[in-house]
C-alpha cells in the first residue's frame, strides 16, 4: 500500500462520518411529542405506585399524632411522640425526583420508616394497620410493571 492509498481510505472514512452526522441530525429533528407523552404515562404510573406506601405511612403517623391520648394507657406518650417524629422526619425528606440519588435514598427511607412504623404499631397494639401493608399497596397500585401496555388505563 502506498501513501496515496492511505490518503484515499482516510478520505472515505471522513466522508462516512460526515454522512452519518448528517443523517443523525435529521433523525433527531423528527417530532417526538408522541414519545414524550408515552413517557409521561409511565411516569405517572410509576410515581403513583412508588409513593402510595409513603402516603399510607404519612396517614398512619398523622392519625397517631392527632390521637395521642388514646395510647396513654399502653405507652409513654413521650416515647411514642419521639418515634412518630423520627418516622415523620424520614418521610418528609424523601425526594420525588427520578434521579439516581433520589431513587437510592427513597429505598433506604421507605425501609427505615416501615421498620419504625412496625415498632410504633406494635407499641400501640395496632399491628392490624400494617400487617398487610404490601398487599394493600399492590391492591390499589397494581404490580410495578411499567413496561405493560397501558391502553386500558390511559
Amino acid at each position: 500500500m502506498d501513501i496515496d492509498d492511505v490518503y484515499d481510505i482516510e478520505n472515505v472514512l471522513d466522508l462516512e462520518d460526515e454522512y452519518y452526522d448528517e443523517g443523525y441530525k435529521e433523525g433527531q429533528d423528527v417530532s417526538v411529542q408522541e414519545q414524550y407523552l408515552e413517557g409521561m404515562e409511565y411516569g405517572y404510573q410509576t410515581g403513583m405506585q412508588r409513593f402510595l406506601i409513603v402516603g399510607y405511612m404519612k396517614g398512619l403517623i398523622d392519625y397517631w399524632k392527632s390521637h395521642l391520648s388514646q395510647y396513654e394507657q399502653v405507652v409513654s406518650l413521650k416515647t411514642l411522640e419521639n418515634h412518630l417524629n423520627q418516622a415523620e422526619n424520614v418521610l418528609e425528606n424523601i425526594s420525588m425526583a427520578n434521579t439516581e440519588d433520589a431513587v437510592r435514598e427513597y429505598e433506604k427511607a421507605v425501609l427505615k420508616t416501615k421498620n419504625k412504623i412496625r415498632v410504633i404499631a406494635s407499641i400501640c397494639k395496632e399491628q392490624w394497620k400494617i400487617n398487610d401493608i404490601d398487599d394493600f399497596v399492590k391492591e390499589v397500585g397494581g404490580q410495578l410493571q411499567a413496561s405493560e401496555n397501558l391502553d386500558d388505563m390511559w
Binding site: L15, Q35, Y36, M40, M96
Partner: protein
C-alpha cells in the same frame, strides 16, 4: 421498549427493538454495492438517521417520564394518606369504597387529564372528593 431500574433511576431502553437499516428503508440491499460516493453517503446517512431518531425518541420518553413521575408521586401520596386515615378510623365501608375508587386504573383514567396529560383543574377530582370525606372524619 422496556423500563429498567438497575438500582438507580428509572430509565428507558429501546435498544432491544431498535430497527436495523433494512427494517426501515425498503430497498434491496442484497445487490452488489458500488464503491461510489453516492452509496457511501446513502448507507451512512441512513444509519445516522436511525440512530438519531432512536436517540431522540429515547430521550423524549425519558423526559416525559421524569416530568410526570413527581406528579404521579403526589397522587400516590394523597391516595395512600386517605387509605391510612380510613383504616385508622376503622371505617371499613368507606375503606372498601376508597380502595375501588382510588385504584390506580381509576385515578389515572384519561378523563381526568388534558390532551397533554396534565390533570384537569387544580386538583384531581377523585382525590379532592376523598380528602373532603377524610376531613369529615376528624
Amino acid at each position: 421498549m422496556v423500563w429498567v431500574n438497575l438500582g438507580n433511576r428509572w430509565s428507558v431502553s429501546m435498544s432491544e427493538h431498535a430497527p436495523s437499516v433494512d427494517d426501515v428503508w425498503e430497498e434491496n440491499d442484497s445487490r452488489e454495492l458500488e464503491s461510489s460516493t453516492a452509496d457511501i453517503r446513502r448507507i451512512h446517512k441512513k444509519q445516522g438517521y436511525l440512530d438519531g431518531l432512536m436517540r431522540a425518541k429515547e430521550s423524549s420518553l425519558q423526559a416525559g417520564f421524569d416530568d410526570s413521575f413527581p406528579k404521579g408521586a403526589d397522587l400516590g401520596i394523597a391516595a395512600g394518606y386517605i387509605l391510612a386515615q380510613l383504616i385508622s378510623h376503622k371505617d371499613d365501608n368507606l375503606l372498601q369504597q376508597a380502595k375501588q375508587e382510588l385504584n390506580i386504573s381509576k385515578v389515572l383514567s384519561k378523563k381526568y387529564f388534558t390532551s397533554t396529560l396534565e390533570i384537569e383543574g387544580d386538583e384531581h377530582p377523585v382525590i379532592r372528593e376523598w380528602k373532603d370525606k377524610v376531613t369529615g372524619l376528624k
